[in-house]
Amino acid sequence: MTHIHPTYQERERKRFMRPDAHRFLRADWRSYMPLGRRHDPIFRSFEEIARKYRSNQPRVPRGNPNGGQWTSDAANGRNDPRVISDAVPDLVDPDTQYAQNRSRGGFASVFINGQRIEPTPGQQARLTVVEAQARDAIQRVKEFDPRWQPTPSVYESVEGLIRSYQSDVDQAQNRISELQQAGIGPGPFAGESIPARGPERDFISGERGEINRIGSETGCHTCGTMNPGTPLENFVLDHQPPTAWNPLNRSQRLYPQCWSCSSKQGNWISRNGGRR
């Protein structure tokens, strides 16, 4: 009989276990397990199913676009700054020749320079995570700047492909930060906002009062200052997305903005082509 590596068997079992597998277990299954068999693999397996998740599975930390999601990066998880769990990840021996992966989407194989390359399970997991992060980050940029594209990277290996996706994420986040600093999109200090009646600037006193109230609590949505910088100490009622920079014609909201950030926003919009 052909020997199948137990690590591979364990991995395959995890891959194909149904998310609701715990429903197949009887609630009193523990009473049928002898005390001496607590270290038996079947007991541990049942425990895992009953818990519905693995307690030692690393997760992407808060603040990350995929924060809170499970990641199954077996190869580099412990060195990945995004992973907050210090539990020992599942071991996948890189030197072991595993059976052919059954593709269920994702990265069962990738083509690099016309060659089909099989990523390791750890690489597959990292590719899936970083590709999703890159897609989300680019999508967020394109909401305000549809013509933006990350600079393409050249790569010759799976690790290079992963670094390429990570580069896309970094570039997209830098672009979002740059846009936010220029007043494009709700800034890092954005708190409450009120719906804009339209792109017009015929604001009513109620809107002015509400924006001044929000501004006094959370400050300028772009820089956070509590000082509007205007002679009558009124915050600027800033349309977001800006009327002159609303490529997708999304509905607008009003945020408090200081006079300095408002002029910076106007300068940026004018330098970058104005109304689109």
Partner: protein, 142 residues
């Protein structure tokens, strides 16, 4: 005819002023409280700097107006010799105008005021009535 009447002393003072001074003006509340003075085809917008009322490149000048939510700004565009208010200009420099039409635009490049000039490089002087929150901006060309 007006010049002859002026020389002959047949126009009283206010009428003389109105008849002889060639300028256009507008009361505006520009978006982002910002206007740009450039050729009608636009120019190289100067990079933003914090707390700078007037910024410029060889082909474009940006001027901060009175904050739009607090009130309007009167912008006056005319020949420098005629609309010089008599005190030192806040800005005095040369501006490239390839199409010989000086325009005042807002951030979306909509023309607010314009004036034809004879040369492609003209002297521009700007007078403001407040060092930070000017609600009267006088732009003298030539």
């Amino acid at each position: 005819m007006l010049v002859l009447q002026f020389k002959a002393g047949k126009l009283d003072k206010p009428e003389r002023w109105k008849a002889l001074i060639m300028y256009t003006s507008k009361l505006i509340k520009p978006v982002n409280s910002l206007i740009f003075i450039s050729d009608r085809a636009g120019g190289e917008i100067p990079a933003w700097q914090k707390d700078k009322q007037i910024l410029w490149t060889n082909s474009c000048i940006s001027v901060l107006c009175y904050p739009e939510q607090d009130g309007p700004t009167e912008v006056i565009l005319g020949t420098g010799r005629e609309i010089d208010p008599g005190f030192r200009a806040r800005f005095d420099g040369m501006l490239e105008i390839p199409n010989c039409t000086v325009t005042v635009q807002n951030v979306t490049h909509e023309s607010l005021l314009s004036m034809e000039v004879a040369e492609q490089i003209v002297r521009v002087r700007i007078w403001v009535n407040h060092p930070r929150w000017a609600n009267k901006i006088v732009i003298g060309v030539g």
